[in-house]
Subunit: 267 residues, 2 copies
Amino acid sequence: MHKHLSRRSFLGLGSGAGGFVLGSVAAAGPKTLLSRSAEPPAFPWPYREVDPAAVRNRAYISFDKGGCMFGVFEGIAASVADKLGNPYTNFPFALSSYGGGGIASWGSLCGTCNGAAMAISLFHTGEERTRLTQQIFAWYEENKLPTYVPAASSRVKSGFEMAASRPDSVLCHVSISRWTGVSGFASYSPERLERCARLVADVAGFAAELLNKSFRKEPLAGARIGEVAAGCLSCHAQGRQAPGEPETVSRMTCTTCHEDAHHQDKK
Amino acid sequence: MHKHLSRRSFLGLGSGAGGFVLGSVAAAGPKTLLSRSAEPPAFPWPYREVDPAAVRNRAYISFDKGGCMFGVFEGIAASVADKLGNPYTNFPFALSSYGGGGIASWGSLCGTCNGAAMAISLFHTGEERTRLTQQIFAWYEENKLPTYVPAASSRVKSGFEMAASRPDSVLCHVSISRWTGVSGFASYSPERLERCARLVADVAGFAAELLNKSFRKEPLAGARIGEVAAGCLSCHAQGRQAPGEPETVSRMTCTTCHEDAHHQDKK
């Protein structure tokens, strides 16, 4: 699954882009240079609007360099860094490459969701971070994906009809199983890899749209919790549970795993 | 759940430690200064051995500053950064603070697992990264946690008997439910927060032990997949599935959610 990740691609990332412009500061004195260049980037980073279509294209290509989490994170963060310049362009974006295959083939959290959450966390803290992340997770679970169509693909022929499926979960192995069930392709097929590459583009583009809206202070209309979880949590959230019913700390689509939860309770 | 996370604690992190030593380089010419100070940290970072007991103590305290993912990530990464000095100490460790509550209260991946995976990814790529991460995830799912006992706690009285539970999953809401089931405490109780703080210490310390062993090139004895998943994957992994049986891309403990998977298939 990760054979396309070379060590070189990890090490080389970000080292060339946005290099320090020697000429423009060479006339300044040592102290000015020192304070300017030694200063770490601000955190959270300031945001700059990015073109969601360009982010989708970049993320799709970045998937091949570092997997799904990297594709989303680098697609967004490096696009903003290109506008901010040094030292932001020197950030080790490849740190985010650990999330492919639901982290170390564990099949847990989908790397696109992990990468989007990490990217949002570069620019936001507190409630706005939570709000944006929840909108992405709810959208991811409930929409038929992928929708992105690349200009060209190395894995499928031109005109390939990509199946779209509702992930029903932010978990990698569930999301993949939903797609293989709809498409009929195997988990390790080139077609499934292509599906994940396009999913990377979708999630990165959607996250960029939300970040742009947040930057412009436009209202965000999306849901912050899925329909299923909203229903279940009406009885199972903190302080709301009926006597003997469990309280849960989750917004995941409950019925994906707890298919028949109440009937099992009654056995 | 995250009321203890102040904006100040995010913004202030890392900005003071390991400041650039003005005196030692002030005598050098502008060009030397420029190339030295503008140089970004290497990636992956070089590793330095850390004391697992000290990492546990640090991670336990860092939980209060940025949540569970931050606690583990900062506990490990900032401990190594302190040995490496500037510019490593300027890394925005608070970027990892997005993973609490299974990310934005979604209850998905436990932040301690996400934080450990992110920390390992600072130092390793490829197969060694995968190997170390899988050992942590398998250990997390199958062991009764927490085991760490702090010198002092702001949430529970001295002598408090902390219940330990087997998470059975790397998912936040499952891990918490297992513990509330065993302990009898509510999900949002101070006792549960204390449990997660101690879990942060456990995971950070275990990860530090593995990183130290890897650095010393000592053999790593731990499992890379749990017992349950190993059994299920003997039929459901790539190229091994029986006709009509699904292929899965997961190493999570299957039976936590697929309790009666084969019986459901037969309905």
